[in-house]
Amino acid sequence: MSHIVNVVVAGLGGQGAIKASDILADAACRAGHDVKKAEIHGMSQRGGSVTSDVRYGKKVLSPMVPHGEADFLVVLSPDQVEVQRPVLRPHGILIGPDFVDENELPNKRSLNVALLGALSHHLDIPEAIWMEAVHAALPKRLHEVNDRAFRMGREKAAATPRHHR
């Protein structure tokens, strides 16, 4: 099978994990990939853990990332990092909630988009497409803060040596 990029986004209900995975899936789709996205969100508004799987490439079959085969794990909540770490493949990349300084964010609620910015550094999707996907997912009044959050994450990732992640 051709190469498939596997991403798992994890957090607690209300943190925007699903929104982040929606943006990622939309960006991959806009970039011309086959995309599938799977999540469990039955009780997500009640503060329970939420994970969302995004897979893209030439042709994706199962919508769920096989356990231990995620290339990237994006985690929004500190208490979910160790819980979710086993979904990563060996040498898979973890982007945790402390990757960006929450206090430097223009709005704390845009942590999800900031971490997507960090993820975007590793993925072969043009920045313009990312911005289209971010804007399509959010109301206009939130574009500016989220643009800044996205760039903050993206620039931090570009400046961070790989072994520090």
Partner: protein
Amino acid sequence: MQRQLMSGDEAVAFAAVDAGVALGTGYPGTPSTEILETFAEAGGHAQWAPNEKVAFEVGLGAAFAGARVLVTMKHVGVNVAADPLFTSAYTGVSGAFVLVAADDPGMSSSQNEQDSRRYAVAAGIPMIEPSNSQEAYDFLQAALSLSERFKLPVMLRMTTRVCHSKTLMERRPPLPAAPAPHFVRDIAGRVMVPGYARPAHKRLRERLAEILKENEASPLNAEHPGDGKLGIVTNGIAYKHVLEAAPQASVLRIATIHPFPVERVRAFAKSVERCMIIEEGDPVFFEQARAAGIPVENKPEMFRFGELSVERVRRIVAGDVSPEPPPPRATPPRLCDACPYHPVYDTLRRLDCIVAGDIGCYTLGVMEPYRAMDSCVAMGASIGVGLGLRHVLPEAEARRVVSIIGDSTFVHTGVNGLIEMIYNPPATGHVLIVLDNGTTAMTGQQEHPGTGRSLDHDAAGKFSIEGFARACGVDQVDIVDPVADPKGFEELLKNRLASNDLSVVVARKPCILAAADIRGWDKQIAEKAACGGGCPT
């Protein structure tokens, strides 16, 4: 048309719009809820019924009149609708009637993991099952067309991963319109007294035999050639896992779940050295294939539980029954911090009540720190279970029994329990608490008859919980705000528990997640009424 990323639920909704479905009805339930919401947003005529049985019957009437109809519910909702479901297979329909049953293997948000394929077999209803959003779109239309051609209700079975996964799909050109509904008298076909039901049953079996013939050659059942050694028969989302986990295998995917194309499976099994059935949930295919004498292997029993996945299919193929790694320890959901139910559960815990519970957000009262729920079985079951406990427990324990139910659940099937309460009252009386937060909260804040607003949040008739209780002749009906006056709530409850009266306490306070929306919808309704409905919006 352009390819779009859509969930299976959204795909069904758009397929219904493009097929000219005249009416969509159902009751909210994960993972089916988004179908009717999307159908309404896309311009369809969608409505929530008080429960699945009523939804089914409203849909059936519309299909008797010749309309194309979509009815949606979760798997356990089909239990509520099962009575009309079985006999509708005898009456058939004039238009097209598709019931979407959304199963939840692994129970992400359900009380059991029953397999709706059993219903298709038991009721004699044809069933089709998609495996992604494009198929959800195409198969809904195929199901409508099958229903129209054979004049039978048809089930579209979905599962959580097909309902909620987003995959790429495109809409097709709209289907030709159905003839306008009109009434045609057909007493022998629609009135199921024994004299008419006996030939109707024979008619049903004849139609199923015809559909079976079609299913044996149906293009919906895809076959993937492999190396001829291992053959796998599969369905639904498991089909996608199988293609990924066993790329060398020959694969027969059955989408026409019922009637099961057994000769197609026999021929496939003959073409390979070894044939396995890999189906999520119950061994429905396996049992039918083995009953027909086809040499197929079943998955090991441990894989009957929960969802399948690529790694579980790899294990099934390898015959690996070693213990699986535990799934990541999920953080369980809990009552929202500002939920108005906190003081209620705090009181129930401190009074050491025996709590017959029900289904909704408030089931979370079972979690720490309250642990204040002693049973949760089915929608509306709190009242009957509470009454049964009261009837037989020694008096000191009977007096501690409370039934607790949400507003939407009360309207759904709680009303029947309340009628039982006044008809067969326990010697110690009984206390029913209705937690009225003004919405169907757990499934994502849908409307219900008690909110007085329709599915799309417009003005509608309003069911009164306290009015119904009073009309039933309940001795004491109280309306309280447990947040504003927790002490008063506790005193009232103590008082009611000590008496032999039948008591209904409506604890009323809007859900904090829905409160702002509710205010907005009510404002819109008031503005519309103020200008006589003729104002530009």
